[in-house]
Symmetry: C3
């Protein structure tokens, strides 16, 4: 067992997760764990067929599976969406989330700020002038909500987050430790003497509802206009979002990816880890960019691109295979040359 | 209109920006915005010809342009440097920058620290023993200026910046939220048993005048000697500067780029996004490294390199084109082989 | 001279470093510096043969060298491990490390926390409920040790570090400024409507003894189970360790590298700068991944891989060389085609 909040019966759990139960509903379930770590009293899950071979060996009391799984050494909770049910099981059986409760007397809250009901504010948090914090939002230690910024309801803002001035954050937004929203975009004009004149970056940033921003990620503000991340988009750790970028709904940006200035990612775009997108381009709805790839131009909706520069995944795969066969191609070329020379020497001049 | 500080007449604005006015100087200008977002009362600009097609549709009251632009649907502010004038317009018409005013009683300032006139220090900032802060510098919430460190005049140090011990920072330096200067370099000596002995990293770090360092970027200190970033260099977010690196004047390092230990970047070097430079090499003055590229050796002044490993941009472009034609080359090779076999079968033995 | 703590005689220093002295043991040594920066009173070192040409020009009073160095313009401290002895010299002669002394009245320490003897806690640090801090550990300004977390003995936790709830940190661990341990893994289940359901990330994180974690690096916690970094592993700045990753002992992860979810790095693995490893794979003991490379599958122990996707270093080198020769291969192909056409035209039909 990994952790526990309160025991539930397997029948209760099945009902809460919307699963059909196969097994003894009176079993007490006290925790949730992975297939290999689970023990008696735990519920586990199988969502990725890659791990099916580990199911017969599990010591869990119950497993969440879809209908394709024929047998298991324990009770089954059947659902077409095992991974979603697992998420609910963790929420039910795991420890409570790390929300701050109450308003610490050690926080620095400007008298002009508006704080909603049941907001939690940790020690040494700073809430600036005219900032507004929505109901039930949690502000972690040393987090900063800048002047004239708003944070919606039911947000979790972790330690050391910096939300700069005039930033609008929606509801149910989560920001992991150290995320920065509203830092100055990287905008300079070259003076005739070669030095760089800073363009003041005083535009707006909007983070819509249900967005998550990972640890140490940075979302820059533009000189004019706004940077916007639309509802339901999830951003991993150490991601760079430059000034004036617009990201659509439900996009997924994996760790250490980056998007340069003024680029548009439409809804449902996916950037895999360490991918990069140049400035002033548009990625169509549902486009997928492979890990480590570099997008240098507009990408059509639904396209899967890979490589540096990124091309369609199929073309990239073909080129990569041939790249490895280059020594063989070279040898074939040499061989042809030898055969040709032999023929030439026999040929009449 | 995006934001406003105080209305100015167009004639006054033209004078302040050093532009020649074409149009009604009595027009009231209240804001600055992009070509598409601007409305009546706004000044906008056109610096990148890529956006020229948007000029006829702008609703702005005035546009900053150079002499190459023949017509506009509004007043013109003429200058050979539209982007520089735009920077000045934003400074004139935009909201004031986020400087801290006054010294918060909630800051922890060592009694031995020297604080210049008109310095602003936010709540929960920490200024260590014998640290010195120059006139008019702004220290954001939770920023740390370590013992024996100095920060010059007119700097803006944002929230959560960590300036470690014995770091020298010049004047007019800007550090975005979460930047770290003076963290330990990654230096270890392998012991005979395979474990790693830490080399204490106690060297110096110098950040010269007019440098900007982006959010979450890290500048390490060396074991001995110093890490130095020379005057006027601008560093974007999430950039890694390793121990003992020397960066010249006016360099530009885009987001998520990195420079390994003891490497030298001469004046005016440019690293595009996610580029990397190995340790112990030298990039000559004005060298440009393409996005995602990896520099593995010394680079001559003025050279533009791209790729992994990075080679001259022209050579890289040729190889990339051919790489995509590899399937075609292979097919040509197959075809030649077939034709050659046919010839051979007819040839006398 | 770079810095000084207290003068020692060269004879004393030789004894402390375990070196054999060649020269005047009565010389006073007051500092340690690099070969080129060192002056009278300094000890310097030569560990990398690349810098041997700088030895004759050094102005140092003594140099740490192995037996292969025949002569030097100053006293010699002989040892088979010059780099290890240099580490010791810096520790002896450099300024003291940046440990915090005493417990600041400005820190927020939960009454239920257990604080060991001689612990230092800086202003505005936060120690949560039931947290435990071992003897002689230093907690920097604004660092957070979350509820139910433990930090061992003799650790140095720098400014703005965030150790989240239920994290176990061993002894002699160093975390550079802004490091985050225990942030939520990037785990979501897709709902039928295409939106992302967060999987609560409530698993554990364990950081074993003698680990170092660089500035701005992030170590995520998993939904269930744990993320673990084993003893003696060193992690540089801006590194991403995803949920459920296991890293063995004495691994080295250079700056801006990243490891995706559930991947296993066995003992002594090395990731060079900006390298990435995909999820759910295993890198065998001592595997080395080149800079900027992308590992997409399991890697055998002891293998050196490079490239995107990463292949054995030898194969990658061959392919890279040929890639640059592609224009030449294409020309050879064209030439063969011309010769073949000439032959064909002479051949009987």
């Amino acid at each position: 067992m990994i952790y526990t909040r309160a025991a539930v019966t397997l029948a209760d759990l099945a009902e809460r997760l919307g699963c059909r139960l196969e097994g003894d509903g009176a079993l007490e379930i006290t925790g949730v764990a992975g297939l290999e770590d689970a023990g008696p009293g735990d519920v586990t899950f199988l969502a990725n067929p890659k791990y099916a071979s580990k199911l017969p060996g599990t010591r869990a009391s119950a497993v969440i599976v879809d209908e394709s799984v024929l047998s298991a050494p324990c009770a089954r909770l059947r659902t077409p969406q095992p991974y979603l049910a697992f998420a609910e099981a963790v929420a039910t059986l795991g420890p409570p989330g790390p929300r701050v409760h109450g308003i610490s007397p050690l926080a620095a809250i400007d008298p002009s700020a508006e704080i909603g009901p049941d907001v939690g504010i940790a020690p040494f948090a700073v809430v600036g002038a005219r900032a507004r914090i929505g109901a039930r939002t949690s502000i972690g230690p040393h987090a900063v909500v800048g002047p004239d910024s708003t944070v919606g309801e039911d947000c979790v803002i972790h330690a050391h987050v910096s939300i700069r001035e005039r930033v609008a954050v929606g509801s149910r937004v989560i920001m992991q430790d150290g995320a920065v929203v509203g830092s100055d975009g990287f905008g300079f004009a070259r003076r005739p003497d070669g030095t760089h004149q800073k363009i003041p970056q005083v535009g707006r940033v909007a983070i819509e509802d249900d967005v998550e921003i990972g640890a140490q990620s940075a979302v820059d503000r533009p000189a004019v206009g706004e940077t916007r991340i639309a509802a339901g988009t999830k951003i991993d750790n150490l991601v760079q979002i430059a000034h004036g970028v617009k990201i659509g709904r439900r996009a997924l940006l994996a760790a250490q990816s980056g998007v340069a200035g003024s680029t548009v990612l439409e809804d449902d775009v996916v950037l895999a880890g360490q991918a990069g997108v140049t400035g002033h381009v548009r990625l169509g709805r549902g486009a997928i960019v492979g890990a480590k790839s570099a997008v240098t131009k507009d990408i059509d909706a639904g396209t899967h691109v890979v490589g540096i520069p990124a091309i369609e995944e199929k073309a990239w795969r073909d080129a990569t295979v041939l790249l490895r066969r280059l020594p063989q191609l070279r040898d074939e070329l040499r061989d042809l040359e030898a055969r040709l020379s032999a023929l030439e020497s026999k040929s009449p001049r």
